[in-house]
């Protein structure tokens, strides 16, 4: 018996010499909706749009309809998927964005057919494939790439900056901080999970502003763990010197098993790597691997609805390949953090905390308390491997209020 079914039908006709008319229907067990678009044939610009609900869930779903008008004027190109998902999906409704994506696909394909038909008027023997080859030889056409690169609305990741190889002896260890923060009686607290802009395009906080805030709230150090980005020792040293504050380098690497915080690996990992392969590399480099937010979003369905227990979750293969578990992460729910904590405890794996800050006000939400001073990356590595640390809810524990984000700092590079 079917548990769920979704049917989408899209058709494209030529409305007049310059315009395509696209009709899309999405009908599934939960939602029913329709859209009509007019799209310019020459430039694949969305000229008009109308949409309606046939069935929806919440009493507020109709408020999504006006946001459809925001796509008027968009061109159907490689970026259209991201735009639709950000504008229609996030502000309106992702199911409208979904059928609009399909309509854009149909419009781009229909435009090829129309252009071929027009070309055939002068050259009746021109085959469709021959026409496409000629078009390709003449350069890429607008709308040739579909589906768009992102169904969910996240911008395609920018290529990381070039990696500069550094002699191994310079990588760790020889840089005492100009002004040493002393470990307090409460230990040496480092936020092990921080994202900076522009290294992480999803972050809105510059490294400078994050460091200033970390100092302000009393952290003893932060670790820059940008997505698939390798900070050079020179750049981090420059930041250390400028701020007189302990700054360490890490990396958040996306694997087939989710995100991993990696320390001590210099390689610029691109794309998605298998966790086993990453583990092999980290071991070879003498590094350390922490699974980040291991149960982010897990409990939406898998918890009460599907009966996932910490005991069952602990059997997930990924835990064989990690050195520690991030059990306090600022981007997941308290329940998910608690679940991660139970799993780490049952496996006997060390537990860490990190804010996963993408904004200045988030740094230090969670952090990791070490029991001795840490001044160099080599000392951080030794401390991580010692397993002698605990995750802490730093801001809550210290009662430091969040600082208002100052607009001038946001997006600063």
């Amino acid at each position: 018996m079917l548990k769920f079914a979704r049917n989408k039908v899209v058709s494209a006709a030529r409305k007049d010499r310059d315009t395509l008319s696209i009709h899309g229907i999405l009908d599934d067990d939960i939602y029913g909706l329709e859209v009509d678009l007019c799209v310019g044939i020459k430039d694949l610009q969305i000229l008009s749009i109308a949409g309606k609900w046939n069935r929806h869930t919440t009493p507020e779903c109709p408020s999504a309809i006006p946001y459809l008008q925001e796509v008027r004027g968009f061109h159907i190109d490689e970026e259209i998927g991201s735009k639709l998902n950000k504008i229609v999906g996030r502000k309106g409704c992702r199911h409208f964005a979904n059928i609009l994506n399909e309509c854009c696909y149909a419009a781009a394909e229909a435009a090829k057919v129309v252009r071929w038909e027009d070309a055939k008027a002068a050259r009746p023997d021109l085959s469709f494939e021959g026409f496409l080859k000629e078009e390709a030889a003449g350069g890429a056409q607008v709308g040739d790439s579909w589906p768009p690169s992102d169904q969910a609305g996240n911008a395609s990741p920018s290529p990381p900056p070039p990696h500069v190889e550094v002699p191994r002896e310079e990588r760790h260890g020889s840089n005492p901080f100009p002004a040493r923060p002393e470990p307090s009686s409460n230990g040496f607290v480092i936020d092990l999970h921080v994202h900076t802009f522009p290294a992480s395009p999803c972050s809105s906080a510059s490294a400078d502003s994050l460091i200033e805030e970390a100092r302000r709230i009393g952290l003893n150090g932060i670790c820059l763990t940008d997505h698939n980005h390798v900070w050079t020792p020179e750049k981090v040293e420059e930041l250390r010197q400028r701020h007189g504050f302990p700054i360490f380098r890490g990396n958040e690497i996306t694997t087939d098993q989710g995100d991993m915080l990696v320390f001590g690996l210099e390689r610029d990992v691109r794309g998605i790597i298998k966790l086993q392969d990453l583990r092999r590399e980290v071991l070879a480099a003498g590094g350390f691997l922490i699974v980040a937010h291991p149960f982010r979003g897990f409990l939406t369905f898998s918890g009460e609805q599907l009966g996932l227990t910490p005991e069952k979750a602990a059997r997930r293969p990924l835990f064989q390949f990690v050195d520690a578990v991030e059990v306090l992460n600022g981007k997941v729910t308290a329940k998910e953090n608690g679940f991660a904590s139970s799993v780490a405890a049952s496996l006997g794996l060390p537990a860490t905390g990190g804010s996963d800050a993408h904004e200045v006000s988030e740094v230090g939400t969670y952090a990791t308390r070490f029991f001795g001073e840490i001044r160099t990356e080599a000392e951080l590595m030794r401390a991580l491997k010692s397993k002698e640390y605990v995750p802490v809810a730093f801001r809550r524990e210290t009662g430091v209020p969040a600082r208002e984000n100052r607009p001038a700092e946001v997006q600063a590079s």
Partner: protein, 165 residues
């Protein structure tokens, strides 16, 4: 030439069924003017992890590499937050692979929607009951806050909800 004849048409069908106590099967089929394709994934419960993937793909002029080689990268990926980046990275984002990637994503979305349906069938019929039901849904899963117009600030469904608490 008649202007009533379609220049392009497309049907995409997604279906999810429970194979057994521990497995969901999600199948996405596409038939359009140029493409005939299907992708099937098996999702293990309760982890919602992809445990199998297969498919076929025919296109009028694009050549697609051996599907088995691509789809065998998927087992182990969890269906849920962060999956789209992983799927794109594993399947590929080149032009000739985008449709395939999209169909894998659709299969995964189908699994999520099938589980969402299990929750939504419990929604009351009355307007007042619905407001209360969906408001509680946001409180229980705060990631929904501001994810769409219905759950955006100003909506009756998120009145009194502070996403930072």
């Amino acid at each position: 030439m008649s202007d009533n004849i379609l220049k392009f048409s497309m049907n995409r069908c997604l279906s999810v069924e429970r194979l057994d106590e521990d497995t969901l099967r999600s199948v996405c089929r596409l038939r359009d003017t140029f493409t005939s394709a299907s992708v099937e994934i098996l999702a293990g419960l309760p982890d919602l992890e992809i445990i199998g993937a297969s498919g076929e793909f025919h296109h009028e002029w694009q050549k697609v590499p051996e599907l088995d080689d691509i789809l065998r990268k998927l087992p182990g990926v969890r269906i849920g937050a962060g999956m789209l980046k992983i799927i794109k990275g594993l399947v590929g984002e080149e032009d000739h692979l985008r449709q395939l990637t999209y169909m894998v994503e659709e299969c995964c979305q189908g699994v999520i929607l099938s589980l969402t349906k299990d929750i939504l069938v419990q929604a009351p019929v009355s307007e007042e009951g619905k407001l209360e039901f969906f408001s509680k849904m946001v409180r229980d899963s705060i990631r929904l806050y501001n994810r769409c117009a219905a759950f955006a600030p100003g909506s009756r469904l998120v009145e009194g909800i502070d996403p930072n608490q």
